[in-house]
């Protein structure tokens, strides 16, 4: 019993963190209907930023949030202006491959500027875990999960209660109609993309205590992020959280009960199963599955 409990707990916590990492991507997809292939590299530079602030300013990565989130927001603005905006009215694959080019560029600029070495930050509380009965959980994981929850709730609140949120939802539902109703759609696109980038920055600060950073670290996470975004239902924040948690738990259980070598295979298979039976994703709206990407 302890074993299953630990596996589920750990899977839940790490899944929440995967979800946090993916929320930015899902927001961008929901609004702009594009997939940012440089997502992993956004995570990478934000993690380097968090590490650098910890290493050279003596802060810990959580304090670094204050600087990294706005910095990533600005970075998102720049990327949007330079790459995304020019690509929006072009065939869909343009933005896919333009962001893929950006991903390769960023990985290798990081490699040239820094090195391939792995960088880490010291653990908080000396790496000791909290115990809940027979179960263990590291504070960094708990904090990460809490941030993921807070973020989901915060975003939901923002989307429901603020004007910006309503504007975003209107754009998601029907961009033309929203524009006719006075929503500045291009500005919404910019804000959403930059916000998505900022959210990646937030998740990077929370992930830095858990993972090492190196130029190609994005590769380890980007596929998971894509799967979560689609699994949860494109554009659904809660879907991303749910999707992340599912992935985390499935990977945990399948790695234990079958073999760790197959851990990733099972969450891909889960993904395919969901696609067969709920083609719009776990919390996607019915009919979204047949939405062409050129709409």
């Amino acid at each position: 019993m302890t074993t299953i409990g630990q596996l589920v707990l750990s899977g839940l916590l790490i899944g929440g963190i995967y979800a946090l990492m993916s929320i930015g991507l899902t927001l961008i997809f929901g609004v702009l209907r594009i997939v940012n292939f440089a997502h992993g590299e956004f995570l990478m530079i934000a993690m380097y930023g968090a590490w650098a602030m910890t290493r050279y300013l003596g802060l810990n990565p959580y304090y670094a949030i204050v600087a990294i989130v706005p910095a990533m927001f600005l970075f998102g603005v720049v990327v949007h202006r330079l790459i995304v905006m020019p690509a929006l009215d072009k065939p869909h694959l343009v933005v896919v491959f333009a962001t893929m080019g950006l991903s390769i560029l960023m990985q290798n600029v990081a490699l040239m500027a820094l090195s391939a070495d792995l960088q880490d930050v010291p653990p908080i509380l000396g790496g000791r875990s909290f115990t809940f009965g027979p179960f263990y959980a590291k504070p960094e994981l708990l904090i990460g999960f809490a941030v993921a929850l807070a973020c989901t709730l915060g975003l939901r609140f923002m989307l429901q209660a603020t004007y910006l949120g309503k504007a975003i939802r209107a754009t998601v539902q029907d961009g033309e109609a929203a524009q006719l109703m006075g929503v500045p759609v291009p500005r919404i696109f910019l804000i959403t993309f930059a916000a998505g980038s900022a959210l990646v920055g937030l998740s990077a600060c929370v992930m830095m205590p858990l993972f090492s950073v190196f130029p190609t670290v994005g590769l380890n996470f980007v596929l998971i992020a894509f799967v979560i975004v689609v699994l949860g239902g494109m554009g659904s924040i809660e879907g991303a959280l749910l999707g992340g948690i599912c992935i985390g738990i499935v990977q945990s259980l399948s790695s234990y009960y079958i073999a760790p070598a197959f851990g990733q295979m099972f969450f891909f298979m889960l993904f395919l199963l969901v696609m067969i039976f709920r083609p719009a994703g776990l919390l996607g709206r019915k009919g979204e599955a047949t939405l062409g990407i050129n709409d």
């Binding site: 997809f29 997939v35 790459i83 020019p86 690509a87 072009k90 065939p91 694959l93 343009v94 896919v96 491959f97 333009a98 893929m100 080019g101 950006l102 991903s103 390769i104 560029l105 960023m106 990985q107 290798n108 600029v109 490699l111 040239m112 090195s115 130029p215 596929l223 894509f226 799967v227 689609v230 494109m234 073999a259 070598a261 197959f262 990733q264 295979m265 891909f268 298979m269 993904f271 395919l272 696609m275 067969i276 083609p279 719009a280 994703g281 599955a289 047949t290 939405l291 062409g292 990407i293 050129n294």
Partner: protein, 340 residues
């Protein structure tokens, strides 16, 4: 997705200048002549290597395009078909002594079967849902291949014995390989042109562009799509076998990788999705570029060549959104219409 160029007014004489649906143009003939020259003329070996890879990738890009460009089935999982073909013919050769000339057909058929299953399973999916599903399916195949070490050699890879003979499909001379790859690429180009100009091609385009209207007109979109994916997978599998016979080394992490799948889609996108000449142009630009960048700048260390490549990719995608073929067509239209 751009359809092929509108019918040009005949400008005297039978030949079109630039590629068009349904007929051969001067451009294509000249390109073919250049390719044959590249095979026949004795080039230094490292250039022959670039030529071989360019032709192989052109064929693979064309194969992808049948599903991705013509049928609208954007797949980021084609490396699975490629890998199935590569491993099948290599395993049959290594374990049963079966000549790859036969093995490659088996590999292709197996890949086609995978393709059919994939399309049917993902029949209801569109857009990013479909794309991610292909990626997920390819990852499943990769992980399976990686762990089925007794069959595939697993992480240590599968080496093919470099004993040159026609039966082994291993050649001493790179010129022979170049001819082989050229044959592959020309064959797929011919198939592509035929499909493009045929009724089946029209069904595919119809199903791609407006599924409901196509259905109403009596086209069965699912059948059309499945056929396209099978053909695409079949040809990709054969390309995989040819790859194996040239490089003589396979490992799942690099042969069934997402990076490779992206490459299969990138070349047609860059060259011009949905046209026949597009994937060819994509390969002819990107393959030599990335090989040369690595050769000339790789020694400088630290990723300069890839940073340049990434930058070039961004710029080219933004400035040539319909691909190089699209840019050529615009050029042709502007010339035809005269100065504004």
């Amino acid at each position: 997705m751009e359809a092929a160029a509108p019918r040009a007014k005949r400008r005297g004489g039978r030949w079109r200048l630039l590629p068009e649906r349904g007929t051969l143009s001067l451009f294509e003939l000249v390109l073919l002549a250049v390719c044959v020259a590249l095979v026949a003329v004795p080039l230094p070996q490292y250039l022959q290597d670039v030529v071989i890879q360019t032709f192989l990738w052109a064929g693979l890009a064309l194969a992808w395009n049948i599903a991705g460009g013509f049928a609208g089935l954007i797949s980021f999982g084609h490396a699975a078909f490629f890998g199935v073909g590569a491993y099948t013919s290599s395993i049959l050769a290594a374990n049963y002594g079966l000549t790859p000339w036969i093995g490659l057909w088996i590999g292709g058929l197996l890949a086609a079967a995978f393709g059919a299953v994939l399309t049917l399973v993902c029949a209801r999916l569109r857009g990013p849902f479909f794309i991610l599903s292909t990626l997920a399916a390819a990852e499943v195949v990769r992980i399976a291949a990686l762990n089925w070490a007794s069959l595939t050699g697993g992480a240590e890879g599968l080496s093919i014995l470099p004993i040159a003979s026609i039966a082994n499909m291993v050649f001493e001379s790179k010129a022979t390989y170049a001819a082989l790859m050229l044959g592959y690429f020309v064959l797929i180009y011919a198939i592509t042109k035929t499909v493009e100009g045929s009724r089946y091609g029209y069904y595919l385009f119809a199903a791609r562009d407006d599924e409901e209207a196509a259905s109403a007109a009596g086209v069965n979109p699912l059948l059309a799509r499945t056929g396209a994916m099978c053909l695409s997978a079949f040809l990709s599998g054969i390309g995989g076998s040819l790859f194996a016979q040239y490089f003589l080394f396979l490992d799942p992490t690099h042969v069934i990788s997402p990076e490779l799948s992206f490459q299969f889609a990138l070349l047609p996108a860059l060259g011009g999705l949905g046209t026949a000449i597009g994937p060819v142009l994509g390969s002819f630009v990107i393959t030599p570029l990335s090989e040369m960048l690595r050769s000339y700048f790789g020694g400088a260390g630290a990723g300069l060549h890839l940073a340049i490549y990434g930058g070039v990719l961004v710029v080219v995608m933004l400035y040539f959104p319909s691909g190089i073929a699209g840019a050529l067509q615009r050029l042709a239209e502007r010339r035809r219409k005269g100065p504004p």
